[in-house]
């Protein structure tokens, strides 16, 4: 008996152990599974398994008209639905050679930036959760609730809006939005400061995040990383500045960058982005142009033949829509480029060699959403 056991042990790969995380694990942000090969506490290799939330959205798009497909775009990255919608509408508008009127563009900017704040507040909560603090989650969601209420007044929905339409927005913005936002603008920075006191300056939090998961910019370029992940490593690159869309060049805002490229920098970049987004929304609401909120588009949307790739700065990074049109009611092919897909692709590279607990934090710092990864 004893000998047999020894032989069996010899067959096993030595030193390494395989640990399965997920698909239903709170730290994996949805239905994401990865198999980690570990040596003691250190991760040697990560094999991510995705596809649990695959809904075949690209195939569905080929069988739907441009307008019918639009509600599904919200469901990609469900924390930043309006950013996705904006990108999709810009892509179709580019195909059809139409441009939204200035008022619509300003409303779109308000939508997108408020949604960015909402998404970053989820990140703030989740980051706390990842490091073992539960309170930030509640605080983050509490303030997000105020933003969602504004969305409800303005756009009708809270998570899935179908508000931005091809050629403008569905309904005009309300005057009450400004009142609500002003109130929010007065209270929120004070609260945010308190929240930051709660975890940003906390020694345990800093010890957990500093010098963990350092990524160099050359690697990030090569892996196709974008958004705050890229900015955390000292790359001052923002599509809103470099390829301005929807009138972003009119607003005055800064782009925060990190200097170390570790998880803590990515966290700080996002927290700073919240403040910058507040600035943009305040500016946009103050200088709201008058005029139409939508242009007249044909009843049946039939873009001419051609193909476009349009990207914008989503809440997590570069969202892009590649649409091939053959002059039909339906897109011939629609490819969605999502930041989460590229970032989870990078996970093995970023997390190997770290401790298991750090791998969770690194995954959290990419702020991935499985709905946008699996599509």
């Amino acid at each position: 008996m004893y000998d047999e056991a020894e032989i069996l042990l010899d067959d096993l790969p030595k030193d390494y152990m395989e640990v399965n995380f997920g698909p239903h694990h709170p730290s994996t942000h949805g239905v994401f599974r990865f198999i980690a090969k570990i040596d003691g506490e250190r991760i040697i290799d990560i094999d991510p398994v995705i596809g649990y939330l695959h809904r075949g959205i690209e195939k569905i798009a080929e069988n739907r008209t441009y307008v019918q497909f639009k509600p599904l775009v919200d469901r990609l990255d469900y924390t930043g639905g309006l950013n996705n919608e904006l990108c999709y509408c810009l892509a179709v508008e580019k195909l059809m050679d139409i441009e939204a009127p200035p008022r619509a563009q300003a409303i779109r900017v308000i939508c997108a930036e408020l949604n960015r704040i909402a998404a970053h507040l989820i990140f703030f909560g989740a980051m706390g959760l990842e490091t073992g603090a539960f309170t930030p989650l509640l605080f983050g969601f509490l303030d997000r609730e105020t933003i969602l209420n504004i969305f409800e007044i303005m756009a009708g929905g809270r998570l899935t809006f179908n508000y931005i339409t091809i050629g403008g927005v569905r309904e005009d913005i309300r005057s009450t939005v400004k009142t609500y936002f002003d109130k929010f603008n007065k209270e929120f920075p004070v609260k945010l400061k308190r929240y930051e006191e709660l975890i940003t300056g906390n020694e345990i939090f800093i010890k957990r995040l500093k010098n963990v998961g350092i990524l160099k910019k050359e690697d990030l370029f090569n892996w196709g990383a974008s958004g705050p992940t890229l900015r955390g490593s000292g790359v001052k690159f923002d599509i809103r500045k470099v390829e301005p869309y929807s009138g972003y060049e009119k607003y005055d805002f800064d782009i925060p960058v990190g200097t170390n490229g570790d998880v803590y920098d990515r966290y700080l970049v996002r927290m700073e982005e919240i403040k910058q987004s507040m600035r943009i929304v305040a500016q946009a609401l103050d200088n709201l142009p008058s005029g139409d909120f939508t242009v007249k588009v044909p009843r049946i949307i039939k873009p001419p033949e051609g193909e476009v790739y349009v990207r914008n700065e989503g809440t997590k990074g570069e969202i892009g829509f590649y649409i091939v049109s053959k002059g039909d009611k339906n897109p011939y092919r629609l490819k969605i480029r999502t930041p989460s897909f590229s970032h989870i692709n990078m996970l093995n590279f970023a997390a190997s060699g770290n401790y298991i607990a750090d791998a969770i934090v690194i995954l959290g710092s990419f702020d991935t959403v499985m709905g946008s990864c699996d599509r």
């Binding site: 307008v67 409800e152 007044i153 009708g156 929905g157 899935t160 300056g201 906390n202």
Partner: protein
């Protein structure tokens, strides 16, 4: 110094501890959906006795619904729908049907609750869709949401 951050954090926690609760007791208190909110669909009627729908049964909404959850038929020569059903088991409240209707026959309500014991209960007939409000909601709006932006 080690521990200062912890104490500062504790201050925030304590402040939250002594502030008013932000949650509401759901079945007893309810929040209203804003008037642009995505609720159940209502068929407009021009008169109740006899019931005359604004809908002419043209079927445009049926064709445009992305989820294919509307079913409309009409008798030859009539200007009223014979069958009009919405399957709320499939509907995603995208409001496309309301946007495309050329006769302005549909409207979105602020009722968001729909429950049933079987999947058949989610298929609503035209009579049910025309009813004003199915659930009598006693509204106790919390202070944080006292106005829902009804004034435009």
């Amino acid at each position: 110094m080690l521990g200062v951050g912890l104490l500062k954090g504790l201050k925030t926690t304590l402040r939250a501890f002594f502030s008013r609760p932000v949650t509401i007791m759901y079945p007893y208190e309810r929040v209203r959906i804003g008037d642009r909110g995505q609720g159940l669909i209502k068929l407009r009627v021009t008169s109740f006795d006899p019931v005359v729908y604004k809908c002419t049964g043209c079927g445009i909404c049926e064709k445009n619904c992305p989820q294919r959850c509307i079913e409309v038929t009409k008798k030859e020569g009539e200007k009223q729908p014979e069958i009009y059903t919405v399957n709320y088991g499939l509907c995603m409240f995208c409001r496309i049907c309301i946007d495309v209707c050329p006769f302005d026959a549909l409207e979105m309500t602020q009722d968001s609750e729909h429950i049933g014991y079987s999947r058949q209960d989610f298929i609503w007939e035209k009579e049910k869709l025309a009813m004003k409000s199915l659930y009598i909601v006693e509204e106790k709006t919390p202070a944080s949401r006292d106005a829902d932006g009804a004034s435009s």
